[in-house]
């Protein structure tokens, strides 16, 4: 509860700054237009115009809000102009990619923890893999997958999985290694097998780490899904909205899609957080 007031304050401050910015950045165009038309504009005239341009350099918050309202609430959710529809398209690729990425990440982490050779060889390359700009290779991934007959949401999901697997690997390796020597020794005195050690000690100890990285991972997944939408013709999804807004200089549309994407990310992270709390609570690790 004691977070609401500060957050509101910051949001209000941000919106005020945003309005000021909008006036400042859009004023040039307003003045140019007036000069071209040979008009003199009063200060209030300038301000009014800057906040209602069609293609503003920085759209005013209320323009973005209006666009969001129109494209979510006022459109049927099956409409191509509905952000809910586009959001759903992105979400489905995100979730599939997240599932693949998380699964692969966990498997890789298990391998790394149990096999020294894998640990030594894979980790540096996993780091290097994240320095490759995904947007650059996304089109190629799509084409390559296409040439072996994989189409539809799967290629997008694979790109999104590529981005989400890394945080999961890192977190999970850390988590599986978090039991200290004493906890491991305890199981040894019982003569426990490797599998039992994994099930009864390593896996449960890794849960807090896993969830922390899942939060990072799902946000990365969303970015991946959006990136993956571009080279498939960018016809559906939030990425498509961003890009088509960009083709036509529809800044209001871009900002609306951006906010929607960030809200979706926040919601996804929030859901993971809820699952985390529920799980850890059931496991007795949440106090």
């Amino acid at each position: 509860m004691n977070r609401i007031l500060p957050v509101l304050t910051v949001v209000v401050a941000l919106i005020v700054l945003w309005y000021l910015g909008a006036v400042a950045m859009n004023a040039q165009w307003t003045r140019d237009q007036a000069a071209r038309a040979g008009q003199e504009l009063s200060f209030t005239g300038i301000v009014a115009d800057t906040l209602s341009q069609d293609r503003p350099k920085l759209p005013a918050p209320h323009q973005v809000a209006a666009e969001l309202w129109q494209t979510t609430v006022q459109k049927s959710i099956t409409s191509k102009r509905s952000l809910v529809y586009h959001g759903w398209v992105t979400l489905s690729a995100t979730l599939l990619g997240f599932a693949i990425g998380t699964g692969a990440g966990i498997l890789l982490a298990v391998g790394i923890v149990h096999n020294r050779a894998m640990d030594m060889s894979v980790m540096p390359w996993a780091i290097a893999s994240q320095t490759i700009p995904i947007l650059a290779i996304a089109p190629m991934i799509i084409v390559v997958l296409n040439s072996i007959g994989i189409q539809g949401v799967l290629p997008k999901a694979i790109i999104s999985a590529y981005l989400s697997f890394f945080p999961v690997v890192v977190g999970m390796v850390k988590g599986l290694r978090s039991p200290d020597a004493m906890q491991l020794d305890l199981l040894k005195t019982y003569g426990a097998s490797g599998g039992e050690t994994f099930r009864k000690l390593r896996l449960p100890s890794s849960m807090p780490y896993l969830f922390t990285s899942l939060k990072v991972g799902i946000a990365a997944s969303l970015v991946g899904a959006i990136v993956g939408e571009l080279p498939t013709g960018a016809v559906r999804g939030l990425g498509a909205r961003l890009l088509s807004g960009s083709y036509y200089g529809q800044t209001v549309q871009i900002w609306a899609a951006l906010i929607a994407a960030a809200a979706l990310a926040a919601a996804l992270v929030g859901v993971v957080g809820l699952i985390q709390r529920a799980t850890l609570k059931r496991m007795g690790m949440e106090r």
């Binding site: 350099k57 050779a117 030594m120 894979v122 700009p133 089109p139 190629m140 990425g239």
Partner: protein
């Protein structure tokens, strides 16, 4: 087909060697720690080469590593120009500005828990804005040259860095702070002598995450408008021209530069936070 089988055999053999090294006696030596990943990387390349050649994948889809290497060697001047444009001017300046601003901001809001409680959730929200949406906007605002790329990088690194620094500034223990109080130390003395040093492991965590973000941000921003040089520019135009070997040469530069950058920051971290248990090994 033979090439495919050959590649797979090589893979098997290299894996066996790696297993031997990793479980052998000299496994903790520097040489082993270098050899294993290098061998693994080599395996990936051989596998790639063998598969691409063996299965006759057209070069306009996926060129073999040998072709990429040839192209790399032949295009050093262009690669260098692109590297300077994107990495040095775009990524590095954005990295310095973004990380510097984030640390400064963290110190400023450090005195106000109210601001922290408000700013961090909003910051996390803003950090979730996809780059692909931000980049065209910033290109529109800051022009086509490296400034807009640096701006994208600033936006990308600012919040991860801020969150880490704020966390770091809170990392000193109550006892350590009490100690300062018994000396009647003032705010700045406590900051300088206790909280900043204690924050360093967190700060470097942020700095490391930011290295990869910076490079990716600078490259991606070039997709949305650039002068006719830069790694992102080259990648996007050469794909259209079907010069996939050049594209991969640029990607190789990106991966090398990114890993080297990360390695450098990690090395500095080792020097600065030598005292931290995770560094003492």
């Amino acid at each position: 087909m033979n090439l495919v089988i050959g590649a797979l055999v090589f893979w098997g053999a290299a894996w066996w060697v790696n297993l031997r090294i990793a479980n052998g006696r000299g496994r903790d030596t520097r040489a082993a720690r270098l050899a294993v990943p290098v061998l693994f990387g080599l395996t990936l390349l051989v596998l790639w080469e063998g598969l691409v050649r063996g299965l006759n994948v057209p070069g306009v889809i996926l060129p073999p590593p040998s072709a990429i290497a040839t192209r790399f060697a032949a295009s050093l001047p262009i690669l260098w120009v692109d590297f300077v444009q994107t990495f040095v001017k775009g990524a590095l300046s954005g990295y310095v500005i973004g990380c510097g601003a984030a640390v400064a901001t963290a110190i400023i809001i450090d005195r106000s828990p109210f601001l922290q409680r408000g700013l961090l959730p909003v910051g996390n929200f803003i950090a979730a804005l996809p780059v692909i949406g931000i980049a065209p906007i910033l290109v529109m605002w800051f022009g086509f040259d490296w400034q807009s790329k640096a701006a994208v990088v600033v936006v990308m690194v600012f919040f991860p860095m801020l969150v880490n620094t704020v966390q770091g500034l809170a990392a000193s223990t109550a006892m350590q702070r009490d100690l300062m109080q018994t000396y009647s130390a003032n705010y700045w003395q406590t900051l300088l002598k206790l909280r900043l040093p204690a924050a360093m492991p967190f700060v470097f965590n942020g700095l490391k995450i930011s290295t990869t973000l910076a490079l990716i941000g600078a490259i991606v921003a070039e997709f949305f408008g650039s002068p006719i040089k830069g790694m992102g520019f080259r990648i996007s135009t050469e794909v259209g021209r079907l010069s996939l070997d050049m594209v991969w040469a640029e990607i190789a530069v990106a991966a090398l530069a990114g890993s080297a950058f990360y390695g450098l920051v990690a090395a500095i971290e080792k020097g600065v936070t030598f005292w931290h248990p995770s560094q003492r090994g």
